[in-house]
């Protein structure tokens, strides 16, 4: 992790993006969805890991990303790419352990449970939906196959829940089974990056705990915004974003404030 000593004013969204970007190295293949996930991937390449390869489920591999895409199908993911592939081929890079083990995936969700299982499908009962979300897209595929999954979540009690309305993407213990018992090769989520801090998962209990709280945030405030009992005893304060990182994010990655707005 980079130690950006200097600090200055920044938004929670900027802190989230920088936090994710810090977790990406030059050796990684980064796979991301739309919105803040995509911003984090592009920011990682601009700030910390120019050698990282960003690829999209839409099939574009290592594009120039001269302008920020606003969807994974945006023509801006195509310009200057190293290669194109089909959807099947793109997801096959995840399912194939040779490449899947090197992929860092970044996704969001509507709900998360203590084991990092995710819901991005719906609230209510299946067939009697109260609120509908977009569905898995590639999130379940990613969470099933790749070794490093980063999850972006806004910290709200209705989002951090004891029990999901629908289990879209598997975490460390889907439906009470271990991943191995469920037949899943790769690991559960590496981190949940929220607007107040970063959660990780205990390797023994598979349960979420607070790993980092953002500067200016009190761990108990985070605990009170989670719908289950969150261990905050291990938490330390996160480094604020460095001035240089912020500057690159603002002037190179999203100068039009398309996502940072």
């Amino acid at each position: 992790m980079a130690s950006d000593a200097q600090s200055c004013a920044y938004s929670a969204k900027e802190m989230m993006v920088i936090s994710a970007a810090r977790m990406i190295t030059d050796q990684d293949i980064v796979f991301c969805g739309t919105g803040i996930s995509m911003l984090a991937a592009v920011a990682a390449k601009h700030i910390y890991a120019p050698g990282a390869v960003v690829f999209f489920e839409s099939g574009a591999i290592d594009a120039k990303l001269a302008h920020l895409p606003l969807a994974v199908s945006d023509s801006r993911v195509m310009y200057g790419a190293a290669a194109f592939c089909s959807l099947v081929e793109a997801f096959s890079f995840m399912q194939n352990p040779k490449t899947g083990d090197r992929i860092v995936g970044i996704i969001g969700a509507a709900q998360i449970d203590p084991f990092g299982n995710l819901n991005s499908t719906m609230i209510g009962d299946y067939g009697r939906v109260r609120a509908r979300f977009p569905g898995s897209g590639g999130a379940c595929d990613l969470a099933s196959f790749v070794n490093t999954v980063l999850v972006f979540m806004k910290l709200e009690k209705r989002k951090f829940v004891e029990r999901l309305d629908y289990l879209t993407s598997p975490g460390w213990q889907p439906k009470g089974k271990s991943r191995e018992e469920a037949g899943l090769r790769a690991r559960g989520p590496a981190a949940v990056i929220t607007d107040m801090g970063i959660m990780k998962f205990d390797r023994v209990t598979c349960q979420m705990y607070l790993d980092r709280y953002f500067p200016g945030v009190v761990p108990e405030d985070i605990k009170s915004r989670v719908g289950f009992d969150l261990d905050v005893s291990r938490a330390v304060r996160a480094d604020p974003p460095g001035e240089k990182a912020l500057s690159i994010l603002r002037t190179t990655t999203d100068p039009e404030k398309l996502i940072l707005d």
Binding site: G59, D74, Q95, G137
Partner: protein
């Protein structure tokens, strides 16, 4: 060549191949290369009862949901980039139980089209193990039993028969507790008709897609009938100078429709960009059914064809959407 003539007008192609109640898939991905001219013609012809198969059709899906054209939907993802975290007419139609929905992942939907394209009954994957996707069915067993157009199962979880029990050193018979390795089999999709939009085609039906192909090629080959709308119809032989860039041979194609700007308001790589102003306006205009109906009445049914729709929806602004030749998208469009 002496192939039968495949050149159709859009209205004739939709009328002949998109029958009420049929199973359909459309090409593209969220806000790129959806066959929007064809989607609007389906709405214009008031064709209903459709079963739509989509991995991530944003705009095309949402307009078919808003217009009441679809009864059933197999889907992986229904967002539309920054312009709709969840497509709004889809969202409303699901909440109001106007469409039956069955959820899959993007990989799974792509694999299902691939199985259809390959003439296979199913494709395997490890995706969705441990989730609600294998358990929650949008179409119940009774419906599946009575409707032969549906697969008899949403999916099947089986033991991988090639799984090697025990370690290489141990004898497998000593590991009776080893229950093997589960794997998911997904049923093929063979749509009655697929519609895709491409940059170019020739009169024999050879198709060239520039930029990403998404799952269009598999969707095209899986279908019983295939309509290709294209920006440009080129002379016979013109595409044969670069066969590596042509994805679909003519013998797969039933109708070629010349339809400039046929993907608008979604993007067409190398030709034009998506229209952020229209997509923003559409999102506000169609938040309720009355809003969608007013839009469809004035912009779709109120226009004789796609050129009329573009004139009304975009007008002179279209110039700002035209793609820069180097990057393939617009450098001028305000997003």
């Amino acid at each position: 060549m002496t192939s039968p003539n495949k050149i159709y007008t859009l209205s004739a192609a939709i009328r002949e191949f998109v029958l009420p109640g049929c199973h359909i898939s459309i090409g593209g991905f969220t806000l790129n290369r959806n066959p929007m001219a064809a989607v609007h013609e389906i709405i214009r012809q008031k064709i209903t009862g459709l079963h739509l198969y989509a991995h991530s059709n944003g705009q095309g899906l949402d307009e078919l949901a808003g217009s009441g054209s679809i009864d059933r939907l197999d889907i992986a993802y229904s967002g539309n980039g920054r312009y709709a975290p969840t497509c709004i007419n889809f969202k409303r139609a699901v909440r109001d139980n106007q469409i039956l929905v069955e959820d899959y992942t993007n990989f799974q939907m792509a694999l299902r089209f691939m199985a259809g394209a390959m003439g296979l009954p199913f494709m395997p994957t490890y995706s969705s193990l441990g989730t609600d996707i294998p358990d929650k069915w949008g179409y119940g067993r009774d419906l599946r039993q009575s409707d032969p157009t549906l697969p008899v199962h949403k999916l099947v979880t089986m033991d991988n028969p090639f799984f090697r029990t025990g370690s290489p050193e141990s004898h497998p018979e000593e590991d009776p507790g080893d229950t093997g390795e589960p794997i998911v089999l997904l049923p093929a999709i063979t749509p009655d008709v697929t519609i895709i939009h491409a940059q170019a085609a020739d009169p024999a039906g050879t198709v060239r897609i520039d930029g990403l192909t998404f799952s269009d090629v598999e969707q095209a080959k899986a279908a019983r009938r295939l309509i290709v709308t294209c920006e440009t119809l080129v002379d016979p032989g013109a595409l044969n100078h670069a066969p590596q860039n042509n994805q679909i041979p003519g013998f797969c194609v039933d109708a070629v429709v010349v339809q400039p700007f046929g993907a608008y308001p979604t993007a067409c790589y190398g030709q034009y960009d998506y229209d952020p102003e229209f997509l923003d306006w559409y999102g506000k205009q169609t938040t309720d059914q009355d809003g969608f109906d007013a839009y469809a009445g004035e912009y779709i049914r109120g226009c004789a064809d796609h050129a009329g729709f573009i004139e009304k929806a975009c007008g002179k602004r279209f110039d700002t959407l035209m793609a820069d030749p180097e990057t393939g998208y617009s450098l001028e469009v305000k997003r």
